[in-house]
């Protein structure tokens, strides 16, 4: 009898099983609504735009063709741009990882002073608009540069490969730094002590234990920086000069020359490189990690105080830090200088300009970013909650779409929006709505990823206990899940706002006469050589972001929340 019963339910067709799962998942109306809305948003603003790009690139008057791809691989110009992008990515990834490792190693392993300064400083480029550094690089090393021209009298051409590589390294190494610090902190000191006990000296331990343990992490950081470099639009357009990268070319071809087929084909190629790197980072290397990221190592590490190591490392870190700091100081300075390189006398005209003519840029940007922030932070956590805790059909696809959006270059997404929402049935370009959408989609996936990591650390039975106590899923989410991962929630809010204020790549496709964004204004000023106005805009932007971060941290502190807490 047992056998016949077996046969009965193992013969359930896949469809029936799917339907049953669907019915079970959707017995909870709140869950159903959230699954459906997240799915719709992801479909409308990630999947469909990408599909539009793909379709546009292979369609010629209603017929399938690979013409545009052949064109790319036949054109030496296009090939050069692809090669430029990859070459830049590799150089920036290698240098950036090296700098990141140096900082991470110095702050976790070495006995050196000013650690706090290094830490704060290495976070700075993450919260500033992407072209503060390139702008500063131009002001320092450009044709009228403070160092090159004023000091050495050289009319240096900073525009091009090395200028761009320099700014990208300085802009992106912090991401690698954060990641590697985390990994280094999680190496159990006893592993290294064991190597020492077995007779290794410090340099041997470093070569044979620390570095091999870090290898997957280093590769991971390098890929992360590589992806950032590929997608970087702001620096590339400001300081790239004649050295064109794919992200810039997609914009120029699509919006400048309105060659949509060429632009979309290039976008598909860029997307594929990017997704491949992302896949490598997450699947191949991610799984190789030797270090568990659950919880910190239990023992305190004995810091290395060997002067032969600490002094050179300290000097290098200090040199890089001083460079970055001076770059950031140039922005406020440049905002009050009449004409950079020619007339360094004090003026408030740029500030006045920004607060009169530029006021609407400031207002529009702040309003849109403020709207996108809570939506993005909440949606990020809701999506993570659904992915980690709930079972519903199509979950894998949803998770994959959201995480892939992390690797999605902003220009590709912007191009997708132009293609999809410029024409009926849904015309959204030019509206504030699509701008908010762009800001949300650009920051939500990161929030989702960190919330997924946070949720995985929390025993699901805590939420189950709440549900058994009579709480519906929305009540569980609000009264248990959010409080348990509130540090992630608040960092998500801060991150979304910063991202909203500083995003360039996607929104440059979407700004209109009705809605203007600060970053685009800065870019236009730099383009016209009006560095004073550009600096003044940057200053205002940094002030707003800094002010909001300060308010948020005060708010969080009055609530008595420690952002580093964990249960």
């Amino acid at each position: 009898m047992q056998e016949s019963q077996n046969a009965l339910y193992s013969e359930d067709s896949n469809f029936k099983r799917y339907f049953k799962q669907l019915k079970f998942s959707l017995r909870d109306p709140v869950l159903m609504v959230s699954v459906i809305s997240v799915t719709i948003i992801v479909a409308l603003f990630i999947v469909i735009p990408l599909f539009s790009i793909l379709r546009e690139s292979v369609e010629e008057s209603g017929k399938f063709t690979l013409q545009s791809y052949f064109a790319i691989f036949r054109s030496s110009y296009d090939l050069e741009i692809i090669w430029n992008t990859i070459k830049l990515g590799i150089v920036v990834a290698s240098l950036g990882t090296a700098v990141a490792f140096l900082f991470a190693y110095a702050t976790t392993y070495l006995k050196i002073p000013n650690k706090k300064f290094f830490k704060v400083l290495s976070i700075l480029p993450m919260i500033s608009p992407p072209f503060v550094i390139s702008l500063a690089a131009i002001l320092l090393f450009g044709r009228s540069g403070l160092i090159t021209y004023k000091l050495f009298g050289v009319r240096n051409d900073i525009y091009g490969f090395w200028g761009l590589a320099l700014t990208q390294v300085l802009s992106f190494f912090p991401i690698g730094y954060l990641m590697l610090t985390n990994l280094l902190q999680n190496i159990d000191p006893s592993v290294e002590e064991a190597a020492q006990a077995l007779g290794s000296n410090q340099s041997r331990v470093f070569r044979t234990v620390t570095i091999p343990l870090m290898l997957p992490g280093l590769a991971n950081a390098a890929l992360l920086i590589f992806i950032q470099s590929l997608a970087d639009f702001g620096n590339a357009i400001v300081i790239g000069g004649n050295f064109t990268t794919m992200a810039v070319q997609i914009y120029q071809q699509g919006i400048g020359s309105y060659d949509m087929q060429g632009a979309t084909a290039l976008a598909v190629v860029l997307l594929m490189i990017s997704v491949l790197a992302f896949y490598l980072q997450n699947s191949v290397i991610g799984k190789k990690s030797y270090i568990t990221v659950t919880g910190k190592a239990s023992k305190q590490r004995v810091l290395n105080a060997n002067k032969k190591v600490t002094i050179p490392v300290y000097v290098v870190c200090m040199a890089i830090s001083v460079t970055v700091v001076s770059m950031y100081l140039l922005v406020p300075y440049g905002a009050f200088v009449r004409l950079w390189g020619v007339d360094f006398s004090f003026t408030t005209r740029w500030i006045t300009y920004v607060f009169t003519i530029g006021m609407r840029y400031i207002k529009d940007t702040t309003v849109l970013a403020a709207m996108a922030t809570p939506i993005s932070a909440i949606m990020g956590i809701v999506a993570a909650y659904l992915i980690v805790r709930k079972e519903f059909p199509g979950k894998k696809a949803l998770e994959w779409s959201i995480l892939m959006a992390i690797a999605l270059p902003g220009t590709v997404l912007g191009l997708g929006y132009v293609l999809t929402y410029n024409t009926p049935p849904l015309i959204l370009t030019g509206t504030g709505f699509i701008l908010v959408v762009a800001l949300v989609i650009r920051s939500m996936p990161i929030g989702t990823r960190s919330a997924i990591a946070a949720l995985k650390q929390i025993d699901p039975s805590i939420e189950e206990a709440a549900s058994i106590c009579g709480a519906g899923s929305h009540k569980v989410f609000l009264s248990v899940t959010i409080p348990l991962i509130r540090p992630v929630f608040f960092s998500g809010l801060v991150y979304s706002f910063i991202r909203g204020m500083t995003l360039v790549s996607t929104i440059i496709f979407l700004v209109s006469a009705r809605w203007q964004m600060l970053t685009v204004a800065i870019m236009n000023q730099v383009d016209q050589g009006l560095y004073g106005a550009a600096n003044a805009y940057c200053l205002v932007l940094i002030a707003i972001v800094g002010g909001v971060m300060l308010l948020m941290s005060l708010f969080v502190r009055t609530l008595g929340i420690n952002l580093n807490e964990g249960y």
């Binding site: 077996n6 339910y9 909870d28 189950e464 206990a465 549900s467 106590c469 899923s473 009540k475 249960y567």
Partner: protein, 361 residues
């Protein structure tokens, strides 16, 4: 403290099949039929992976059955979410809300029920009294030991006056001494309130000590349902016999039968044993002989002592008998002769303690 609101639980043809990437289709629970009466304490017992936790989680509403029905007081709850099933649950990892203090942990469900403040305070404090933790209302979970946390979790489940209380291996994270204490306490409170309880464990002594009824599961299939005595004395099959206590399985032959009684021949010694099965003369049967059902010194048969250990309350022997190793516990050994390893030993069986296994289906 609690008015009796105990409910009945019925599982009807309940099945759960997982599809895994590594092992393909896994039948976690297969066609389980079970009735749990109001106020009963029922234990789901089995080795890890036997489906007991899956079964409990289906009753709770966390897992979807592939087939079958779950009736709580004749109401099919399959389509209800966990919060609508009128249940309480105590988890293995306590699952207290780490961001709330003890009072608010216990009051969590009461707030949802929109009780008045006075009623809520009364219930929480009364609940804490039951587990002798009156002074802990302000503590947060991180400031308490595992045992204290589990007691709070128990109170959190009890104050809601649920129709059914579920336990998912609640004691397995506690140390041995505390485990014994807590199991008595849980049973005491359960009896006092008379609440229907379903308790999952892999610890047979826990099941024996607490249950009105034990359900033994293996590979998702119910092996036997019965009270502790039935399960121990009349195991349904070899698995149950070996899982609950120690068992020697011997072979014998039916040589005569009467109404509800048969005479069996085990190695030329004859015993009369009660059985409900209709056996025929000449049938081969398997007989469960517990270690304490073997009487040393009885002259029914002889074997060789392979190993012997003095345990204080008993002298344990491993006897080589017909190529098998028999495990024997001879109680009160100080009054008796002790047989040396390697030497001969004679023994026999206590007739009333023999149990014939039912033929395998």
């Amino acid at each position: 403290m609690v008015e009796n609101s105990a409910k009945k639980v019925e599982l009807v043809n309940l099945s759960k099949t997982f599809i895994t990437s590594t092992r393909g289709k896994v039948h976690a629970v297969q066609n389980v039929n079970l009735t749990i009466n109001p106020g009963e304490f029922v234990t789901l017992l089995g080795p890890s992976g036997c489906g007991k936790t899956t079964l409990l989680r289906m009753i709770a509403g966390f897992e979807m059955p592939s087939d079958g029905h779950i009736m709580i007081d004749d109401d099919d709850v399959i389509s209800k979410t966990p919060d609508k099933r009128d249940l309480g649950m105590v988890f293995q990892n306590y699952a207290l809300f780490p961001h709330l203090n003890v009072f608010n942990n216990i009051a969590y469900g009461l707030k949802i029920q929109k009780l008045t403040k006075e009623e809520m305070e009364k219930r929480v404090l009364d609940g804490l009294k039951i587990v002798q933790m009156d002074d802990f209302a302000e503590r947060v979970p991180a400031q308490m030991s595992g045992g204290q946390q589990q007691r709070v979790a128990l109170v959190r489940a009890l104050v809601l006056h649920p129709g059914v209380l579920l336990f998912d291996e609640p004691l397995s994270n506690l140390d041995a001494k505390l485990r014994l204490h807590m199991r008595d306490e849980i049973r005491r409170i359960q009896k006092e309130i008379g609440i229907t309880s379903i308790y999952v464990t892999h610890d047979q002594s826990e099941a024996m000590a607490m249950s009105d009824k034990i359900v033994i599961l293996k590979d998702g299939i119910v092996q036997q349902v019965g009270n502790p005595q039935e399960i121990y004395q009349h195991p349904a099959n070899e698995f149950v016999a070996n899982f609950i206590g120690k068992a020697n399985i011997l072979e014998g032959k039916i040589v005569a039968k009467e109404k509800e009684k048969v005479t069996i021949d085990i190695d030329k010694a004859e015993y009369v044993v009660k059985t409900k099965t209709r056996w025929n003369v000449g049938d081969s049967v398997k007989i469960v002989v517990r270690p304490e059902a073997i009487e040393i010194g009885k002259e029914d048969m002889t074997g060789t002592v392979v190993k012997t250990i003095y345990m204080g309350v008993s002298q344990d022997y491993w006897i080589n008998f017909q190529g098998k190793e028999l495990e024997v516990s001879d109680y009160n050994p100080s009054a008796k002769q002790i047989f040396a390893e390697g030497g001969p030993i004679s023994f026999g069986f206590k007739e009333k303690s023999l149990h014939i296994l039912e033929p395998e289906a």
